[in-house]
């Protein structure tokens, strides 16, 4: 399963025993995995009732909050790692959340669908917004209100004084390091605040 492979590739970036905050943690699968496989602890933030229920059911700490209202509940530097996996495109204020991620965590890991993946480019060249397995929504009903590319994120990270520790693409569960902006459906960035 490629999702499992992506989860493991992301988990590999999280040091053993880290204190983790997972923003938009979904059903808590990632945190559950990190707790069991990498002795991590932490919390997930979710807005959806069914996901909060799923987290509680599997024994993952879940805090029900709307990320668009900010992370005031979390102190500066209170986590080793803050995850944002497929969360950024859903946020009205994606840049603020990126800054907040860098504020509450010593490091951040962001993964999101890369709009510059070649099938997406091809679709736009044909004149239509892409509808793919990775971006399965029509343009008029997509929850991804902030679509961007691998390269776009590099620029945004630089603008916000984030130092990129590692960056790569993921495609079909494989890490893509050669031309990730064109060859990967998912962009992954591991960063810390520049001193």
């Amino acid at each position: 399963m490629t999702e499992q492979a992506t989860m493991q590739a992301l988990a590999a970036l999280v040091p053993e025993g880290s204190r983790v905050l997972d923003l938009g943690c979904g059903d808590g699968a990632m945190l559950d995995y990190l707790q069991r496989a990498r002795r991590c602890s932490g919390y997930g933030v979710e807005i959806d009732d069914a996901n909060v229920l799923a987290c509680v059911r599997r024994g993952v700490n879940a805090i029900q909050l709307n990320l668009d209202e900010g992370l005031a509940i979390f102190e500066d530097n209170s986590f080793d790692v803050v995850l944002q996996i497929d969360t950024l495109p859903h946020l009205r204020n994606a840049e603020v959340m990126l800054r907040e991620t860098a504020r509450v965590g010593r490091t951040g890991i962001v993964a999101f669908p890369n709009f510059a993946h070649w099938p997406n480019r091809l679709s736009v060249l044909r004149g239509r917004m892409p509808v793919t397995r990775r971006l399965p929504y029509q343009w008029y009903d997509t929850p991804n209100i902030r679509v961007g590319t691998y390269k776009d994120f590099e620029v945004l990270a630089h603008k916000n004084r984030l130092r990129i520790l590692d960056a790569f693409g993921m495609q079909e569960g494989q890490v893509v390091r050669w031309l990730p902006n064109a060859r990967a459906g998912t962009a992954v960035f591991h960063f810390e605040r520049a001193a």
Binding site: R19, D49, C55, V56, G59, Q64
Partner: protein, 392 residues
């Protein structure tokens, strides 16, 4: 077969020193238990009650069909707090009028009813009293303590006063203290009671009187604050009371004719359904609730403030807690607003405690914590499921 409830009483002759400096020399606690204590004595769940409730949290009394406990939708066989797996204890706090020693009991010092002389009791005092009952029942550590509103304050207090005796705390629709507005509502209710000519400085029992007018108004105010504007509008709107409805009868809704009839153009008759509803609730309440108990319990609400001893720093105040927490709030609850629950969550996060928080988008205001909502009951049920798994 419905769960059968039986009230038990435990007498304590060892004096209970209260926060106010007074001592309850001799007292009794009313309680009920449901389910079975396991051999390890590890499956006990304590349920703390709020303002106008009691130890009767679940089940019915034998031969009395409509006597369900106040949290019967939450607690019972196969329910979110499953009495097939947990040994659940409902307890009545001292100062109450439902069975534990309270203002209506005889003051051993005077041989008369305590009345207004019943000492002021606090959330902390209640927790100490509850702990003594657990000692008698042979329960060293609770699997969980659970409460809503003022009951949630007791659950929180448990984790601070007896951290080693609580594995989990479930705090629903509660707050780390009351806001000024909240104290203000309590004060209006208290003034209504105290200024009722039948109150007689709290010694109305000797006159064979009950300050019903005060109690009615106290209840009406309370009721308004437990609901939301939306739910009140939906339930009553501007509907007029049907002509046929008797004074003091339960209000009926959904009568289309009631909307259309002419106004009475009276300043004192019941005109709107909401008035009828509030008067009905007030009347009912004044028949069974003790005025001194109302004063005591609202005061306990006002005084609760664990951060006070820490210069207002809640994070410091919650440092002793080692329990794991579930907090639940309701979006339209303006008396115990979600923001207040989030303060508790924040303080727990800063202490690096295990905590989950569900904010249920429900229209029913503070009352939501007593109502059926699949998301609310679901998340509490899932949490207790996890606790049950730890037992196995």
């Amino acid at each position: 077969m419905p769960l059968l409830a039986t009230t038990q009483f435990q007498h304590f002759s060892e004096p209970l020193a209260l926060q106010c400096g007074a001592v309850l020399a001799d007292y009794r606690l009313a309680f009920e238990t449901y389910g079975r204590l396991n051999a390890e004595r590890s499956n006990a769940v304590l349920v703390c009650h709020a303002l106008n409730a009691s130890h009767h949290v679940a089940g019915v009394y034998e031969g009395r069909e409509k006597s369900e406990g106040w949290w019967d939708n939450m607690i019972g066989p196969g329910k979110p707090v499953d009495t097939d797996r947990f040994f659940v204890i409902g307890i009545n706090n001292p100062g109450s009028c439902f069975g534990s020693t309270g203002p209506m009991d005889t003051n051993p010092a005077t041989g008369e009813a305590y009345g207004a002389d019943f000492p002021v009791v606090t959330v902390e005092d209640w927790v100490h009293a509850q702990a003594r009952l657990l000692d008698v029942l042979g329960i060293g550590q609770l699997a969980a303590v659970l409460g809503g509103s003022l009951g949630g304050m007791q659950a929180l207090s448990w984790t601070l006063q007896y951290p080693e005796r609580v594995r989990h705390a479930v705090v629903v629709a509660s707050a780390p203290n009351l806001t000024a507005e909240n104290i203000a509502f309590n004060e209006v209710a208290r003034r209504a009671i105290v200024t009722d000519p039948d109150f007689h400085g709290g010694h109305f029992y000797r006159h064979g009187l009950v300050p019903k007018r005060g109690l009615r108004i106290a209840r009406m105010i309370g009721h308004i604050t437990y609901l939301s504007d939306d739910v009140m509008n939906e339930k009553f709107g501007r509907s007029l009371r049907p002509l046929a409805q008797r004074e003091g009868a339960a209000p009926t809704t959904d009568d289309p004719a009631a909307l259309l009839r002419d106004y009475h153009y009276s300043t004192q008759d019941i005109e709107f359904q909401i008035e009828s509803y509030l008067r009905y609730q007030g009347d009912k309440f004044s028949e069974y609730f003790d005025a001194n108990t109302y004063l005591l319990i609202t005061r306990a609400l006002d005084y609760f403030d664990p951060a006070r001893a820490h210069g207002g720093n809640l994070t410091q105040a919650l440092a002793p807690a080692t329990a794991k927490f579930l907090l639940v709030s309701f979006s339209t609850d303006w008396r115990f607003a979600p923001a207040r629950s989030r303060e508790i969550v924040k303080a727990l996060l800063e202490n690096r405690r295990d905590v989950s928080y569900a904010e249920i988008d429900a229209p029913h205001g503070h009352d939501a914590f007593l109502l059926d909502d699949a998301r609310y009951l679901g998340v509490v049920g899932a949490y207790f499921e996890r606790i049950a798994k730890e037992l196995a």
